[in-house]
Symmetry: C2
Subunit: 157 residues, 2 copies
């Protein structure tokens, strides 16, 4: 199977946990937010790329599924897939894992918009970002399906 | 129109903002997480209620729409509606506003599960929480429709 694109890894910090020592919901999203930063770097939109192009990505919308508790000090990683993109949007899917393990601790689907900071105003991807997006999709190959994507929140039954 | 149920209010802290002084995505969710705590208190599941009943609410799933930038120091509030509930789940809808203003800065739909901490294992709402849920729904009256609920994330077109 193709290697996953890992866009963030690190330990679960004490200040991210609740009174039980478990990762609080918002800090799952902070980890995914750092993974978005890592993805931006992967398509040339790190701080230097943002400076050079005057562009960045804004998160429009996200969905999260909290699948397992995560404890302070655990070493985790985020695996990132591109579910789709057009000339100015990218649809991402992140899964959170203990480093090197397959079990999913959480999943997040997100839609991001490429924005010219001068407006701020939506703008087409530049040449570098567009080429790298295509490369990432090509390299995804046979990654596992995005099990938690496309969901609507509703009561069962 | 019925008064909204406000379950959190406060200022946007410096440590929640990014290099531009704007609220970072994960910290919108932290504000909604505090609003969940406020909702738990409203149904009798504050720290004392959790201790007395041995139960708490876990967030299973959430969806967020980021509608406007929010700056450090802005005074904001979260308005909370109950979209539905069964014997052990509650489906919530939160909107973020500048205090007293109607414009929505963000919206979040969430599904929470009532859990006995002894397991942890899902458990029916106790008598107090069940009665207060019904009271909150009855008092919601003619609150505005939940415009950002029920969404699937997808590329346009």
């Amino acid at each position: 199977m193709t290697e996953p694109l890992i866009t963030w890894r690190g330990p679960v910090l004490a200040e991210w946990t609740d009174y039980n020592g478990h990762l609080r919901d918002a800090f799952y999203l902070l980890i995914f937010s750092y993974a978005s930063d890592g993805f931006m770097a992967a398509i040339g939109l790190d701080a230097a790329g943002r400076e050079a192009t005057g562009c960045s990505l804004f998160t429009l919308e996200c969905h999260l599924n909290f699948l397992h508790e995560v404890k302070q000090g655990e070493q985790v990683e985020v695996r990132t897939q591109v579910l789709g993109h057009d000339h100015k949007r990218v649809h991402l899917y992140f899964t959170l894992h203990r480093q090197g393990e397959e079990a999913e601790l959480a999943a997040s689907e997100q839609m991001l918009l490429h924005v010219s900071m001068a407006g701020p105003k939506s703008a087409p991807f530049g040449e570098v970002a567009a080429r790298r997006l295509v490369d990432i999709v090509a390299r995804q190959g046979d990654r596992p399906p995005a099990q938690w994507a496309g969901r609507v929140i509703r009561l069962p039954g």
